[in-house]
Symmetry: C2
Subunit: 417 residues, 2 copies
């Protein structure tokens, strides 16, 4: 099998190297000059994306980073406030997660970036030694904070927790993410609603591109690469192909380790999202991972992987777990439903997670009805394990060259009820 | 070392057998006729209480039951609604618990005793294969239910969940506990407030003794012993030595596998509780375990063990864990306190639990302030582990013959702040 390893250089010029894939899935670095340089310096890989196999736009690969490898397509559980809600980090890892996401907006307010830095960074604080991606805070400021004021410089706002006044700029966002100790740092961006007038979408996209350049400069000045961190840019432009093209070109000119597709999963619906991905994915560099932010439902993930997306994050499996909803190969289940009251079977007979091994639907129904914390814990654990099994199944199907057929079969079973 | 094994026969006559203790703490049964009979029938021990060592009234021992051994003095975590709140059962076991308590009142209302029986009983339902003790429902009916009506027959009440009408009698309580699959069944009793007039306390105690006789008959008729279950009686009489004596004599005349001390830990204060235990413990048979219901704080446990108590249950370690309070060898800590915001040390440097191994006080402060479920999970796990380490330390001190000195040292450290 042939695989392609892509490694990014400082300031964004790209090198691609062709090399033989190792059988254990580790990214081979022997044939690249940069790899030799890193090896000679005694350092492990900062960021290398290897594609092991592809089916059409779908592709299976690995991102090598100092804190560990990320198998792609990857799903990142959301650990908003320095915890994946209702989960111990060991259980998050056991579910199959290689990387988690944390929210800059929440962490800057509580416990605070400087405090986190004094305590040795987020990895030590929350006992998660593997890669962490932090968002830029831009999206959450606009959706959560009070009294926002948007300028060319950034966003001034008041905390939703205590009303305290804060300012987020590209420079401050990057500084916070570096203090947190993020492995993957996101450029600061603004995400308008997809249903705004096109002129407004365009102006916002242009602003995000100026912020992307400032983010790159701030990241480089902070010594981000020497610290082992990577920087991703974020494409904007809502549902418009021309704006997405201009955004992609602007990001490519700056150069990033990876490219996120922002501004989707904000209420436009699956059909519009897929239509946008049909052109957005191709506009972004093939050599770098593509990350679709905030997505999604299991069928969203399958459709997006088929359109070339490599990374995802979403609160759905964790939030649903706290609300009595379970995802299964046969579709979602609402455990509050009385029909489960005496159902002695597991949530999903095809699932290998601890919840399905040890507990019945009847018990999970009881815990959910009684509002017991253990219900949230067990359903969250199942949902995260289901999402990771889904990603593993997609990687396997791509590696076997049967992704399209696999996806059709998945959707048939998932939508059977 | 010499140890005493006590095994109860049907209908309450006592046999005691003297035998050599095995070094691994397993109860030796070789020298008892009953043990030989059980062994010949291929059955394991239903209920055998062995005292390995004693210091004054304090004693260390083992209760052997079919689902496992219970090391005494024992602390039973409370699993009210078929879950020890915020804990997986594997973690409850890993904390050192040999037995848990479940509440008849809650389970009869949700999921319902008949439903639990159809689902294979509580052990399978909640994935806890070891011994379970159920309370009788009497205490909780009086404290939680609406529109209670107390008669000689029992208590009629309305559910606090949905207002549905129910009746608890001695016979119904035993039937429910047997359907749940309890290993230790409690006699049905009434628990008046300790500050009621003495005549009222006396009448209530006499009623509870009549209910105890009915409970014994109902348990025997249900085939409780053949199913491997044990039955405990409950002494009442509030703080009055004469009433406690009459209650103990009444229970002894009926005969039970173990004897609970009820009607304490209801607001009388530690001094009055200890004063009552000073005579109540001696009134109950030395051959059977003594169980102090609903107790308590760590210093309550130490004082009660010194007064001859073998078993405890209390919501304090679990409830406190959900409220940001941790128990440590240096006294309780309130994790909400701002002084922990940058404290990188563990909750308790002397504690061997996973929370103390993996997380800082600063992180637990953050989780508690943020209302994160993981904070409740980690503090509950620590508190239960601390309680079990406390019980193990008391057992060790009794076995080494230094309980009094150990207790003085414990209280000095625990109250140092």
């Amino acid at each position: 099998m042939i695989s392609y390893t892509y490694m990014t250089c400082r300031m964004g010029a790209w090198k691609a190297a062709l090399s033989a894939a190792t059988t254990d899935g580790h990214s081979p670095l022997r044939s690249t000059g940069q790899a030799l340089r890193l090896s000679a310096a005694g350092m492990s890989t900062r960021f290398a994306f290897t594609v092991h196999a592809s089916n059409g736009m779908a592709r299976a690969g690995t991102i090598a980073m100092r804190r560990g490898e990320i198998r792609t397509p990857a799903f990142m559980p959301v650990g908003t406030a320095a915890t994946v809600k209702a989960m111990k980090p060991q259980a998050v890892r056991a579910s199959g997660a290689d990387i988690i996401l944390a929210n800059t907006y929440h962490l800057m307010l509580r416990p605070g970036a400087e405090r986190l830095a004094r305590l040795g960074g987020l990895h030590r604080f929350m006992n998660w030694p593997r890669p962490i991606l932090t968002d830029s805070g831009g999206y959450q400021v606009m959706s959560l904070a009070k009294l926002r004021r948007l300028t060319e410089e950034g966003v001034e706002f008041r905390s939703h927790l205590d009303g305290s006044r804060h300012m987020l700029t590209a420079e401050r966002s990057i500084a916070i993410q570096r203090m947190i100790g993020a492995d993957i740092v996101m450029a600061f961006d603004e995400c308008p609603r997809a249903d705004r007038p096109l002129a407004e979408i365009e102006a916002s996209m242009e602003l995000s591109m100026r912020w992307a350049r400032r983010s790159r400069a701030a990241f480089d000045e902070s010594g981000g690469e020497d610290a082992g961190a990577a920087l991703f840019g974020i494409q904007q432009g809502a549902l418009d192909e021309g704006l997405r093209r201009r955004s992609a070109d602007a990001l490519r000119a700056v150069g990033f380790d990876g490219y996120a597709i922002g501004g989707l999963a904000v209420g436009e619906g699956q059909e519009a999202m897929f239509a946008t991905l049909d052109f957005a994915g191709c506009q972004l560099p093939a050599e770098a991972p593509r990350y679709l932010m905030g997505v999604g439902k299991p069928d969203d993930l399958v459709g997006a992987v088929g359109r070339g997306v490599d990374m995802f994050d979403c609160v759905l499996p964790t939030r649903s777990g706290r609300n009595g909803q379970a995802f299964t190969w046969g579709g979602p289940l609402n455990l509050r439903n009385a029909r489960f009251a005496e159902d002695a079977g597991p949530l999903d007979p095809r699932c290998a997670c601890p919840t399905c091994a040890d507990y019945s639907r009847a018990y999970l129904h009881h815990l959910t009805k009684a509002g017991e914390m253990l219900g949230a814990m067990l359903l969250t654990e199942h949902n995260l394990a289901f999402y990771q099994q889904l990603m593993a199944a997609m990687r396997g199907a791509i590696e076997r060259g049967i992704f399209t057929d696999w996806a059709a079969g998945f959707l048939r079973d998932y939508n059977a009820r």
